[in-house]
Every structure is written in structure tokens, then in C-alpha cells.
Symmetry: C2
Subunit: 134 residues, 2 copies
């Protein structure tokens, strides 16, 4: 990790350096909320990430130890990605993001249940999302 | 707001489009946690934002209605920035960011009290931060 190049010691600055770009959040969402693990799956997401950006962001997320490369059980010569503990600890942040957006924008059907859960039982939703990865 | 140009309807994508860059979070931190309101104050922050980036990010944050321009009471010909309700609603996200970083990195002295508060009484901390702006 490029810890020595941080712009400051501020904890908010740290988050902005680690996930402060338009694509890292989308890739982490694919993993945490959609269960995606493979390059091709990230590439297929509706936001339409370009191949070179996807490759660079996956490398960045690996460097920050939010995701890690693991062998793909279905294709022995390939790898897929797994979320790390440090990445899983971002789940509360993602839940707050969903809540914030839900306050100001229509939410697509497939996320409505998350919004309902987040409003009623935030800790339970966080636990449920985490539990899919352990 | 550039709502029509969103890459998708996903609530996480929305957050990434609104604050998914390395500087917007730092400027919002300056406002929410440091009480800064003026261009020159943002410019002086230790992360060292460049003038052209600061100007562009302030404009973006205004476009997304997270901040708004208000007359500067001390300098009648100038303006300063105020956080909007929509911006204030990001406070829970900032508190989660502080907690996440605190799990993995040393926290500078001036933020330790926030970390302690966030761990013990998250809702109280969120209320206290918000109450400084109303």
C-alpha cells in the first residue's frame, strides 16, 4: 500500500484516497451487493466500465487490500476476486450511501428491499451482507 | 444537476458520481468537521489542493446541491459556502468513514475524540455535528 504517499493523516482523506474515485465504489458494490467476483462480471455491469480502467481499479483495490486475488475453482488457469476483511468493513458505509441516495432519488426495484431493511434494521442488514462472505 | 447523465440508477453509483473523487470528500470534510466556509480556507488545507481543482470541485458540489454560495458577512463583495441539508445528510457517512479508518490506521490527535464518540454514541456525534449548522 502506498501509505507513505498519503496527502495527510486525516481519516476522511484516507477514505478518499482509498475509494475516492468513480469506479472503485462501483466495483466494490458489484462484490458486496451483487456477489460478483470475476473480471468479466465487473465488465458487464451497466455503468459500462472500460477494460483498462477496470484493470487499473482492481489493481488499486488489491494494493489497498480491499480485495484479493484467489484461484477460480471453475477455471483452474484463471483467478477471481474475493473481498477482504478490510473490504467487508466498508459495508456500513455502503448502507449509509444507500440511505442517503434513497432520501433524494427514486431507488430501483432491486434495491428497495435494502432501503427498507436499512431504515428498519441497519445492523441486521449489515450483518446479513457480511454473512454472505464468511 | 446532471441527473440525466447518470451511469445507472444504482444508489451506490449515485454516491460515486456525486462525491466519488479524491477532493470532494476533503472539501466536505473541511466544511462538516472543520467549520471552514471560504475558498482561501479550503486552499490552506494540508492536503494541498490546487486552485483550479478547488474551483472545479466547489462548482461540482454546488451543482449537486451539497453546498451553496452565500454572501460573506465579513466581506460584502465576497461570498462563502454553506452546507445544504442534502450535504448535512452525509454526516453519517463521514462518521462511518472515520470509524473505518480508525480500525486500520493511527488517528491524529485532533480526531481521536470523534473516534471515541463514534464508537460509544454514533447517533449523538451525528446530532452534534449537524447541530453546528442549524
Amino acid at each position: 500500500m502506498a501509505e507513505c504517499e498519503l496527502r495527510s493523516d486525516c481519516p476522511i482523506n484516507y477514505v478518499s484516497e482509498v475509494i475516492g474515485d468513480k469506479w472503485s465504489l462501483v466495483i466494490l458494490r458489484d462484490m458486496l451487493l451483487e456477489g460478483k467476483t470475476r473480471y468479466g462480471e465487473f465488465l458487464a455491469s451497466e455503468e459500462g466500465i472500460a477494460t483498462n480502467i477496470l484493470a487499473s481499479r482492481l489493481r488499486m483495490l488489491e494494493d489497498w487490500e480491499l480485495i484479493t486475488r484467489v484461484p477460480d475453482p471453475d477455471y483452474p488457469t484463471k483467478h477471481r476476486y474475493a473481498i477482504t476483511e478490510r473490504g467487508l468493513d466498508l459495508v456500513p458505509l455502503f448502507v449509509e450511501m444507500i440511505l442517503w441516495t434513497a432520501k433524494y432519488r427514486p431507488i430501483p426495484d432491486e434495491r428497495l428491499e435494502d432501503v427498507r431493511r436499512a431504515r428498519k434494521d441497519k445492523d441486521g442488514l449489515i450483518r446479513d451482507i457480511r454473512s454472505q462472505f464468511v
